[in-house]
């Protein structure tokens, strides 16, 4: 069993990991940058090592310093959290070579998931649905029409050498394909000097659905239900919930089974998330696999009663999963709201500075994952997330009410936050209806 964990991260996730370790009787080592000496994680851990100047490249991303800190502290494992080095296969590889337990999948798995084209192929071979479309490029309208039939309409036509939206067109049916293909190809030739076009099924108004999985060293894989993460701005998730309101029981089973299949296809180990795009039609397609703990993991913990961080540590220690798929019962509804230090009125630019007062709510079914306290200086060098508010209630309706009530209590002064913006979303009829997709924020912002 792991005796001492070094947490190669900062902020609320570092705090979250320290708490899990403490409950398990495992000692913790925090690392911090010079800008984070007063950060909560640095003060909460049993031992803290300052590993360098404020810029991440000199501290939280500096592999050599983190390995040195591990050796000096006598830690036998590293938890990478999310972001920073969590999906750096080289870091995982160095840990393996140094006989340090990396709490996460193997370096090989991380590398394989990082190679998107390869990952898509692996999933196709394993029978996990992927966005229809071929790796072959079309140069003529005839080729294009043939490939479009395979991809199924509507299709996206995009330049092989493309970028920046140039040489991209959507064709909704066969009738308009020729015209769209020719225009896109002409643009591609003009812009990139090459008319090779990829044809792919166009996934319209999808939901972002991801499935949490846990896999141990012995090939046992269980899914812990899905999370609906459709409320996102510039690919940055804002609000997540589970279960997904519009998913039928049958679809839920299918998507969770696909996730388990995906994990088994790569012999996955530890906690991971399989991301899908879910079409209104009910079709879903594999996007990618995240080989780390996710920001939004608390909502899965709420509805399953499983502590994912503890499970990660147990799996890394070589333990067998203590439950099977049948033991997993999704109960009630959970919603997470991310609270960021950003100015919603000025293009969400980050707003570092000193927190004068932080008042965070509590009460039944309310959970706060945060690393802020009154008087803390938020440094400008890192991610702007301050806290995660998550709630649980037996039904979605009650959960929304609870989220509204709790978020309404959050007070952070001294810096600008997105609290009001988020409050606007969770009180809007569009959100309450549950009929959301990844274009939600675009529409919401235009209102």
């Amino acid at each position: 069993m792991i005796k001492k964990v070094l947490i190669a991260n900062r902020g609320e996730i570092a705090v979250r990991i320290i708490r899990a370790c403490r409950e398990m009787g495992i000692e913790t080592v925090a690392v911090c940058s010079e800008a984070d000496r007063n950060a909560l994680h640095a003060m909460l851990a049993d031992q803290t090592i300052c590993i360098g100047p404020a810029p991440s490249s000199e501290s939280y991303l500096n592999i050599n310093r983190i390995i040195s800190a591990t050796m000096t502290s006598g830690a036998d494992a590293i938890h990478p959290g999310f972001g920073f080095l969590s999906e750096d296969s080289r870091f995982a590889r160095i840990c393996e070579r140094c006989n340090i337990t990396f709490i996460g999948p193997s370096s090989e798995m991380i590398a394989a998931s990082g190679n998107k084209a390869q990952a898509k192929k692996t999933m196709m071979d394993a029978g996990v649905p992927t966005i229809p479309g071929s790796a072959e490029a079309a140069r003529t309208v005839e080729d294009g029409l043939r490939l479009a039939e395979i991809a199924t309409y509507p299709v996206m036509i995009k330049a092989a050498l493309g970028g920046g939206g140039k040489g991209m067109r959507v064709a909704r049916s066969k009738d308009v394909f020729t015209q769209a293909f020719q225009t896109a190809q002409q643009e591609a030739v003009n812009a990139f000097g090459d008319g090779s076009m990829y044809i792919e099924h166009y996934v319209e108004h999808p939901k972002h659905i991801e499935v949490q999985i846990l896999a141990d060293k012995f090939g046992n894989v269980v899914s812990l239900g899905e999370r609906d993460c459709s409320i996102q701005r510039n690919h940055q998730k804002l609000i997540e919930e589970t279960p997904c309101e519009t998913l039928s029981e049958e679809k839920r089973r299918a998507i969770c089974e696909a996730a388990v299949k995906a994990a088994k296809a790569v012999n996955y180990e530890n906690a991971g998330t399989v991301e899908f795009l879910l079409e209104p039609s009910g079709n879903f397609y594999f996007m990618e696999m995240n080989t780390r703990i996710q920001v939004e993991h608390p909502i899965t913990e709420w509805v399953t009663g499983i502590d994912l961080i503890k499970e990660q540590i147990k799996i890394a220690s070589g333990e067998k999963l203590g439950f099977t798929q049948d033991d997993i019962k999704i109960k009630g509804h959970s919603i997470e709201v991310r609270i960021n230090a950003e100015d919603a009125e000025h293009k969400f630019r980050p707003c570092p500075g000193k927190i004068e007062l932080a008042y965070l709510p509590g009460g039944q079914g309310v959970r706060i994952d945060s690393a802020v306290y009154s008087g803390l200086e938020i440094p400008p060098y890192y991610d702007s997330m301050l806290a995660k508010l998550s709630v649980w209630a037996p039904t979605r309706e009650e959960a929304i009410k609870k989220a509204q009530s709790a978020l309404g209590e959050v007070i952070i002064t001294g810096i600008k936050t997105n609290i009001d913006y988020q409050y606007g979303i969770i009180t809007s009829p569009e959100f309450i209806s549950g009929n959301t997709d990844i274009d939600f924020i675009d529409k919401f912002s235009r209102k």
Binding site: K3, K4, I26, Q47, I94, R97, N99
Partner: protein, 565 residues
């Protein structure tokens, strides 16, 4: 308020630092997991360093490479056939402990000696390959190193194969005394035979290449390449500093210094090296036949109309007029530039190298003006120094060895007139080119693209055919100089231009040139196609008519050509 002292810590924690560290199966950094960069001090993950071909990903510093890794990085997988791995060395001076030392090194390095030789394929092209490895007595050259290299050249000569050697060495092997010195002569002699058989030898100088290896096979390549920053010299820098009692300047004896001083053809990165060598081998393979495509019907550009000779002088010096590099880029897209005269310097006023034209390897040499003032300063306004002419001659001799036609672009106000040019023998350099070009055993074509000033131009124009652009000029000196000498008034240059008979038409009338390339009005980059098409057709005809040439015959005809003036 300091929260850190208020929080209660993990129950089992005994203050953290007391935890037993590094148990047998606990975390530890295995030997060789990291490398420290000798230049920037960065700790680099070995696996990453290996993927990066042993170049520091942070600062670009080149680590020394093991021979086996080097061979893997250059040769196609599984094609290496090692030669002579078990030659037994002697201990000619009876140096005590020498045999023991060698035995220990063999154990430690898994090498049998400081060089590995053999043959293999580079992207499918066969070549002999020698790679030195510094771990073995600083890759010093004793009798076994000399013998392996000599045998490789002998076999290569017999099997008609090119040779590539990656050099790295501290020099002669002291323990073997005078026998070691003789290896320099022995290897050089074997290379001479290989060269006399018309075969290609390429050296790649790596860090460090010094002493007796520099002074023998390292510097004898037809083409000499170097890795960035490699130390290359005869005497080591420390010895020089001690002898002259001075601190050596930054960059002294580095690859870049050697290139600027004329001894290295090009500096090539490790990432590019395999492709670069592939191209060189391809250029030198016999099967490169001339395959001229069908020429499209050329529409001759509309001439600029009536221009006075002085107009032409001004046009030929025009700032938007294309320079040699523009024609080279259009006509020879695979042009590979080589640097240096192998004596003093790389003169940028002359650009030279190899390329293919319709499948046929050719040598291209050009007097090279710049596009703007900055480039012109770099290229000395197209006025070559003796070093430039010597570079040109070196490349012509190389062309002769490999039977490649030579195509020269002439564009110079004249040979550079300056102190250093005289010190290094400007007159001698020009004379030598006229002398050698007259009997070169390969076809030579010279194209006067703009200005052809005096001996500086003629030094690239003793040829089988000389062509001239319609508005180019060719003269014994500048019109300004002519007016100044004859009339003591350089302002009468335009009048001189008329008297001097320096236009292309005048040259044609005097049978100095063989062809005029028609020019569009205001020849510039935008309308360069009009002349490039004519050049393509012309060069195609020139190479075609000289296919299967007889070198002696060519030289004889060239002699007669110049004999008639």
């Amino acid at each position: 308020m300091e929260l850190r002292y208020l929080f209660k810590k993990t129950q089992s924690a005994q203050g953290g630092s007391d935890t037993p560290k590094n148990e047998d199966n606990g975390p530890q950094t295995p030997q060789g997991l990291f490398h420290k960069c000798t230049k920037c001090g960065e700790t680099i993950f070995s696996e990453e360093l290996k993927r990066n071909l042993f170049v520091c990903p942070k600062c670009g510093n080149y680590f020394r490479m093991f021979a086996a890794t080097r061979i893997d990085s250059i040769l196609d997988d599984g094609t290496f056939e090692e030669w002579d791995p078990d030659i037994v060395e002697s201990n000619p001076l009876g140096t005590p402990g020498y045999e023991d030392k060698l035995a220990k090194l063999r154990d430690k390095t898994s090498l049998d000696e400081a060089v590995v030789t053999g043959k293999g394929l580079i992207n499918g092209h066969p070549a002999c390959l020698g790679v030195m490895d510094c771990r073995f007595m600083m890759a010093s050259m004793g009798s076994v190193v000399g013998e392996k290299i000599t045998r490789m050249f002998e076999r290569a000569t017999e099997d008609r194969l090119p040779v590539i050697i990656y050099t790295a060495s501290g020099g002669a092997r002291m323990q073997e005394g005078i026998i070691s010195l003789m290896q320099m002569a022995k290897t050089s002699a074997a290379i001479k035979r290989h060269s006399d058989a018309g075969l290609l030898y390429v050296t790649v100088l790596t860090d460090p290449t010094t002493g007796g290896v520099t002074a023998s096979f390292a510097m004898l390549g037809d083409i000499i390449l170097a890795e960035p920053g490699a130390l290359i010299g005869f005497a080591g820098p420390r010895v020089i500093e001690q002898t002259i009692g001075q601190k050596l300047p930054e960059g002294f004896q580095r690859a870049e210094f050697l290139r600027d001083h004329g001894f290295v053809d090009d500096i090539v990165t490790r990432t590019d090296m395999k492709d670069y060598l592939t191209d060189i081998l391809a250029f030198h393979e016999d099967k490169k036949d001339f395959k001229p495509g069908k020429n499209a019907k050329i529409k001759l550009p509309k001439s600029s109309g009536k221009l006075t000779p002085w107009d032409k002088v001004m046009i030929s010096r025009g700032k938007d007029r294309p320079v040699a590099e523009d024609y080279i880029r259009q006509l020879f897209p695979d042009f590979m530039e080589f640097h240096g005269d192998r004596f003093v310097k790389d003169d940028k006023a002359i650009m030279g190298g190899i390329a293919t034209f319709a499948g046929k390897a050719v040598t291209v040499i050009a007097e090279s003006k710049g596009h703007d003032t900055k480039e012109n300063i770099e290229r000395n306004f197209g006025m070559p120094s003796p070093d430039g002419y010597r570079k040109a001659l070196r490349l012509m001799r190389q062309a002769e060895k490999f039977g490649r036609p030579v195509i020269c672009f002439v564009d110079t106000p004249g040979a550079y007139c300056g102190l250093e040019a005289e010190e290094r023998g400007q007159g001698e350099a020009i004379a030598r080119n006229l002398y050698e070009m007259s009997s070169l055993k390969v076809p030579v074509l010279s194209i006067i693209i703009s200005e052809a000033g005096s001996g500086g131009a003629l030094a690239l124009a003793v040829s089988d055919e000389v062509w001239m652009f319609e508005n180019a000029i060719y003269a014994i000196l500048s019109p300004e100089g002519y007016a100044s000498i004859l009339w003591k008034d350089s302002k009468r240059a335009s009048e001189a231009a008329s008297e001097m008979k320096l236009t292309a038409k005048d040259m044609m009338d005097n049978r100095i040139i063989d062809k005029i390339i028609a020019e569009p009005e205001n020849l510039c980059e935008n309308n360069i196609d009009a002349v490039v098409a004519q050049l393509k057709e012309g060069i195609s005809g020139f190479i075609g008519s000289n296919e299967g040439f007889d070198g002696e015959e060519l030289a004889k005809k060239r002699y007669e050509r110049y004999r008639r003036y």
